[in-house]
């Protein structure tokens, strides 16, 4: 199980438990699932896909950003 927080400079977009997240990385799109190795990566313009624990899928449009994964906690800083 993963804990995800999506933060913009103005508000918290998402906070909750998820199954997987797909991110538009600078060197290609990638997914993060439970027990991913700690990583810091930059994002480019695109869509973030989030699959929540209840299997609900939601999308977030971003212009760019930054992601940090450690210890099954995902923090995504996005610029809208």
């Amino acid at each position: 199980m993963l804990h995800l927080e999506i933060i913009t400079s103005e508000k918290l977009l998402f906070d909750g438990e998820i199954k997987l997240i797909k991110l538009p990385g600078v060197s290609g799109s990638f997914e993060i699932m439970t027990n991913h190795a700690p990583i810091i990566s930059t994002l480019m313009e695109g869509k973030i896909k989030v699959k929540e624990i209840t299997d609900v899928v939601s999308y977030f449009e971003v212009k760019g950003g930054l992601v940090e994964v450690s210890n099954n906690k995902v923090k995504v800083l996005v610029e809208e």
């Binding site: 990385g25 990583i39 810091i40 930059t42 760019g64």
Partner: protein, 297 residues
Amino acid sequence: MANLKDIRTRIASVKSTQQVTSAMKMVSAAKLRKAQDAIIQMRPYAEKLNEILTSVSSNLGSDVENKFAERKVRNKVLIIAITSNRGLCGGFNSNVVKRTTELLGTTFSEQSKKNKVDVIAIGKKAVDGLKSKGVKVSESYLDLYDKLNYSTVSEIAQAVMDKYATGEYDQVELVYNQFKNAAVQNLVNEQFLPVNIESKADSKSKKTASKISYLFEPSMQEIVVSIIPQSLRIQFFKAILDSVAAEHGARMTAMHKATDNATELIRELKLNYNKARQASITNEILEIVSGANAMKG
């Protein structure tokens, strides 16, 4: 002693002023809360960004190649003065104008003599204040506060950063009021560019920066280069938010004082009014009594 009618109209006018100032105080208090909320909302983002910047730059060392780095010469300087659009907030706006002209005369006097200082004014009061002091304002943003959000603010920041990157400016300085609490604003001039990674990676986030060895994608170098502009835009946004919160704080204090002064004035006027009233009654009685005595006599 002024006559009764004069004092009565005076009291009425001071009372209506007091109503206006106390209403303005209440409006400012509500707006201050909103402005403070915006600062609090931004904090987790800024802190995380700083934390990542710290942990990456501490691995890389401080001399990271980037286009916002320090330059040897300071040919042309840009000063950004941030004020509000409205007045009635004490020394809030005039302090910024004063500090800006001070900077022109001291720190940047060399560049100023050669006409190598540009001033950008944010807020109507900065434009008016600087013009009256004879400072040429090269650009102004007046409708920024109508719909304050990150994207409009970061557009301005980006425009300034682009101009620095292309070499048009060699230093950019922000002058604004930092929000401390509702009653206290700190006037600061802060270096916006060139960027100082060391100072951004402050000791507080150094402590919280974790010791986990991360994977970096694409590379640490590229991550730092992409974080720096992001962090600069946040710094600029924070300055604007601080200034807005400080403005409402300053107006609240100013209006509180004005309301107090009006209350005191009304008290004095009422005292005078009652004295005058009593004097006129005493006079009337005197006249009646002396008239009656004259009749008797």
